[in-house]
Symmetry: C2
Subunit: 693 residues, 2 copies
């Protein structure tokens, strides 16, 4: 199949349109890239992309959109095996493999072995256990997974029903699932891959339960991969995305393992059945790991959203529809770029500001995390709770922004966004779990809000609270934990225009909003409102708190630039845009601010007017701003937004590669369908007459 020859060129061409957008840049794109994307991340991505570009027969996944589930798994295994070889050969490091997942958007079946099985052994195994399990795991002589979630138990880990019962007679544990609800489910790398499962099970010794603990259970033979006796294991079937991963299920029917398979660093069961917990290990350290995982999600979400905004901003700057309706002149006879329309700008440009905020926040928060961990290392567990609360809020804020953002970008690409070749749909499905795992975004808010409420109760009770970024604003805006009578002068009575140019005032307003909402919720709960009835208000409070935290980290990262940096004018605009967007999206909160702080209708209208202006302004830099994310064509994997700007040419080319079209498979399938389906329908009556039409 070939495009007809002799077609006229398209004028103006999409490639020219993209070049024109780039020529408008008021900053150096490379310099912006070096500032906004974390150094280490950028270096790793570049290295991994180079290694993969050298072996397109393995790493070129542009045809992933044509693959069935089984073909996807097959390709992911091929890639996974090659990455292990490259790692053993020293071409890439173990943690660079996760970068490969990010670049290719393919989460391979060896992933959980590295990210969950091995770290659990490192953190919770004794030296003897590390010798027995960790070393072979590091050599890939055994393949592991982490089996916690059950088909009937997700969020409520304490409610797990799998048991691990000590059998003193044989010095073993019997691991058992008493009913179907205890069936392990969703376990990554379990469906096809794992030879060993780290099973979270209720530890029972001498009839007494000690809560969920991890035990290593061999499930498949390393010799032939067949399930071991008592083990029923399989893949749990197709999912909305993430289909390169073999999420699996596992039923264990009274499977015995040696006593020494229970990880014993935090709990010890002796030969006699005595249960002890070593005194020299503080289990709070485990909190640090949870926070770390969420820190990683925050960082990943900036990269995830960057792919989507790059596709949508580039495409809508090249796509044209209707002439003369977008308040801007175009080339003679040309239609307007759809990014010039107010409604497209309103949907995409604030996403760009969020995306910059996320990159900046990720770097600033990561530094805060490192500082807290250093404190922990010195035995000071003080900062842990605030760190945990903030990490929960940021995980929710960033993953919500990223997942909704991909969806918004897809819709902004119109019909073509619906094609798999846009790159946004497969991506959406693959990234979607980020709002569910590591604490569902709706549940997670309770972690953040519980911390906020505790601080307020402490302040109200006149107790000491530790000083951190949260308590600092609560103390500043509240008097003994209650709303102060005099609202902060930094923003009250000032014009929105003045606020839009004053970062400190912006932070005061955002933190005041959060403090007021926190105090209000505390009042209501003191008045008898139950926790369950307060859940909706908690979502809003968590978002208000996180809006402040994000704005504050964004500004903190900008403050690391020298005062005269040529990047600052654009970055300050983005920060102000995000501020105004938060106000506009939550104008109801502003009307409700207490006392003189409450916004008037005129002020909210002014927010909307200024937001529209700054959106139009930033739109001019939109293409350079996404170019600065540095997302390669390999990573975009999108026909609509390749850096060469050849939208329609690439799109049609990919369509022609579809199995239904391409030489070989195409004609064969069509011939078969004609015989089976079309011919009997078309020729049910008299075929001769119709052949003439």
């Amino acid at each position: 199949m070939q495009i007809p020859k002799g077609l006229e060129p398209m004028t103006p061409s999409t490639a020219d349109a993209l070049a024109a957008e780039r020529s408008k840049s008021v900053f150096d794109v490379q310099e912006m890239n070096r500032f906004i994307v974390d150094d280490k991340m950028r270096t790793k991505i570049a290295k991994v992309e180079k290694v993969m570009a050298a072996e397109p027969e393995i790493f070129d996944v542009h045809n992933v959109y044509f693959m069935s589930r089984t073909e996807k798994m097959d390709h992911a295994l091929k890639i996974g095996k090659r990455l292990i070889e490259l790692m053993k050969a020293g071409a890439i490091s173990a943690d660079e493999i996760s970068i490969a997942d990010l670049v290719l958007d393919i989460n391979g079946p060896f992933g959980l072995h590295r990210t969950m099985f091995i770290p659990t052994l490192e953190n919770q195994g004794t030296a003897e256990q590390q010798e027995r399990f960790l070393k072979p795991a590091q050599n890939y002589e055994i393949l592991g997974c982490y089996a916690q979630t059950e088909i009937g138990h997700g969020s409520n880990v304490q409610g797990l029903e799998t048991t691990c019962t000590f059998v003193p007679e044989t010095d073993e544990f019997e691991v058992h699932m008493p009913n179907l609800r205890a069936c392990k489910w969703w376990i990554g790398s379990l469906g096809v891959t794992a030879t060993h499962a780290m099973v979270m099970a209720q530890l029972i010794v001498g009839g007494k339960s000690y809560g969920p603990n991890p035990v290593v259970v061999p499930i498949r033979s390393t010799a032939d991969h067949m399930p071991l006796p008592g083990v029923t294991v399989g893949d749990l079937g197709p999912k909305f995305g993430f289909n390169t991963m073999d999420n699996g299920f596992l039923m264990l029917d009274r499977v015995r393992v040696p006593r020494s398979n229970l990880l014993q660093r935090y709990i010890n069961v002796s030969r006699e059945g005595r249960v002890t917990r070593p005194a020299n290990v503080d289990p709070k350290v485990a909190y640090g790991t949870m926070v770390y995982v969420r820190t990683q999600i925050v960082s990943n979400m900036s990269q995830v959203l960057a792919k989507a905004t790059t596709v949508a901003i580039r495409y809508t700057s090249m796509r044209r529809q209707f002439a003369g309706k977008a308040d801007k002149p175009t080339e003679r006879g040309a239609e307007s770029p759809v990014l010039d329309y107010g409604m497209v700008q309103y949907r995409l440009i604030p996403l760009l500001a969020q995306n910059y905020a996320m990159f900046a926040t990720s770097q600033a928060f990561s530094q805060h995390y490192t500082e807290c961990m250093a404190e922990l290392g010195r035995g000071n567990f003080g900062p842990l709770k605030e760190l945990h609360a903030t990490a929960c809020g940021l995980k929710r804020w960033t993953s919500d922004a990223a997942i909704r953002g991909i969806d918004t970008c897809r819709h902004a690409c119109g019909g073509h966004g619906f094609s798999q070749f846009s790159g946004l749909n497969e991506f959406y499905g693959n990234q979607y779990p980020n709002i569910i795992w590591e604490g569902d975004n709706y549940l997670l808010t309770q972690q953040t809000v519980r911390f906020l409420l505790k601080q307020i109760h402490a302040l109200r009770a006149g107790k000491e609270v530790a000083s951190n970024q949260t308590t600092q604003y609560l103390r500043r805006h509240l008097t003994a934990g209650r709303m102060a009578m005099v609202p902060p002068p930094q923003f009250v009575g000032r014009s929105i225009e003045a606020l839009a140019q004053d970062p400190d005032a912006q932070l005061e307003l955002l933190s005041f909003r959060a403090a007021a909402m926190a105090s209000d919720l505390a009042d209501q709960m003191e008045g008898g409102q139950t926790w369950n009835r307060s859940l909706v208000a908690m979502q809003r409070l968590c978002d208000a708190h996180s809006d402040y935290i994000v704005a504050s980290y964004f500004r903190r990262h900008l403050s690391t630039l020298p005062a005269g940096s040529p990047l600052l004018p654009t970055l300050n605009k983005l920060a102000s845009l995000l501020f105004l967007y938060v106000l506009e999206q939550h104008s109801s909160d502003l009307f409700r601010l207490p006392g003189r702080a409450a916004f008037s209708t005129a002020q909210v209208a002014e927010v909307e007017r200024l937001l529209a202006e700054i959106i139009e302004d930033v739109r001019e830099q939109a293409v350079p701003l996404v170019d600065a994310f540095g997302v390669s064509d390999m990573r975009l994997n999108s026909a609509l937004a390749r850096s060469d700007g050849k939208v329609y040419e690439n799109y049609l080319q990919w369509a022609m590669e579809d199995p239904l079209n391409k030489d070989g498979s195409g004609p064969a399938i069509r011939k078969e369908w004609f015989k089976k389906y079309y011919e009997p329908v078309l020729h049910a009556a008299d075929s001769k007459k119709l052949a003439k039409l």
Copy 2:
């Protein structure tokens, strides 16, 4: 593969939980079903489901989740062929075939032939053309598609670049795509199926352009389905959903067709090249068709959302997580149903109210449509514009609610919502185009708002406006098209509790909000704000108008019940719930109502409190309320929510049927992967030592 024998029963079981929910019903579910679901629709669905249930070898599609794109197409063709046979045999009618698409969630490749190709011939073909094309089309001796959209032109139909040029020498038209941007794209039933395309092309006669007109172009041989000379045609590849349809692309390279292939009912080109438009046909009739299509979407969206709410409400009433945190006692030792948690209720119960409103609106609006069409038949085109504006608003409102609703339902099902077996993901992708096609939801608002603004400008200019549901409220709330000084007493100064029980006051408040926003936007545009700058405000105005229209149709349908109907207490609660939900979601609009109508902080807090109460109240009837939608297990196609309530049993059963697990394919694939990928990784070092582990 088998579930281990001897498992304990799960207590309390999910099936028991569902039965308990059903036993709480305060109304007769069958009676509610007969009231809320349109009679004709219900009857057709029942008939089609019965016909299909008799042939499971063709119509059982529960394994669709395992299929590749090509397998899906194959299965859709098998179904499509069988439906044509059943229709020819008189078992079902032509329009019942679209019901089959709805029930199976499979849009087959013969669909556009019926819904676009044939109607276009009926409406725009002359008697002679109907003889030549319509009759064979009705007999399926030719297969058609409707080729309007081009790769470079979607919304802007006037900008299409395909040409249809009269060639007087041979009395033919030459249909041609001059450049790649003119390539027809997204055309349903074109990728593999169609033998004929109804091509929308710029009609050019004697060098003069007459705008887009439809011309019939044979593209594939009916004898062997091979593309005809000058035709490049293919499938446009995988999509986010709708993969049972062969959306295709088409390039025509100076293809000649007889002059009589141009549909000539609205435009005529004579042998001499004279172009005339018949006087006896009013092109406004075509508007009626557009409105009709949108009426159908409104009706479909109620059914679409019903499937999603049925899955989510049933599942969350059976799924349990955490004990004693949901303010309600449970059986001893049992966890709480997740539907008892405030945040789950807040997400799902308002959807249920929206869903009821959509079913009711669809019926009431359909009646309004029929009345307007009768007027049209009498030559009165007066009601057409308001009908069109309302239809655009309702298409946006209902498809937005349905698509967001499916997404909300999926997320409310937690991790299991992410499994294809939830039924919500494939469904989401298949239904997603409803927010894009027949006018993208963001563009469509302009149709509604343009009408509203015209009425206001007319009122301000002191001109006559036709009386209809829109102008009635504009006149009631505005004085000569401007905000009246005295806000309506029906709601001003009254408690929210009183409003929540007063349907008339609710409609007054909702229409006042829309009128105030319309007047405000008109003021701004008179003050010089451009159309492009007004687009964001237009979205909000369109939603406000539609919120009123939906509430008004909802109440209108309820008013058809006798006063003492046992259904009314529940239905009135749903209508009040929707009212409070609209207020709560748009509280910023309430703060901004003009003058004394503006809400206070206390009033908005009262809205929130009452909404939470009514949500908790309606939650008790949630399962009977979704049962009343009458969605069969066949249509749900969900392991999580079958009417038998056996959630985990069904879910695991389906997983075991996955090609990676089931006897035959499962072991074969696993063996191959072990040899290719796992063995080389596991046994890279010394395999003997590890086999012992």
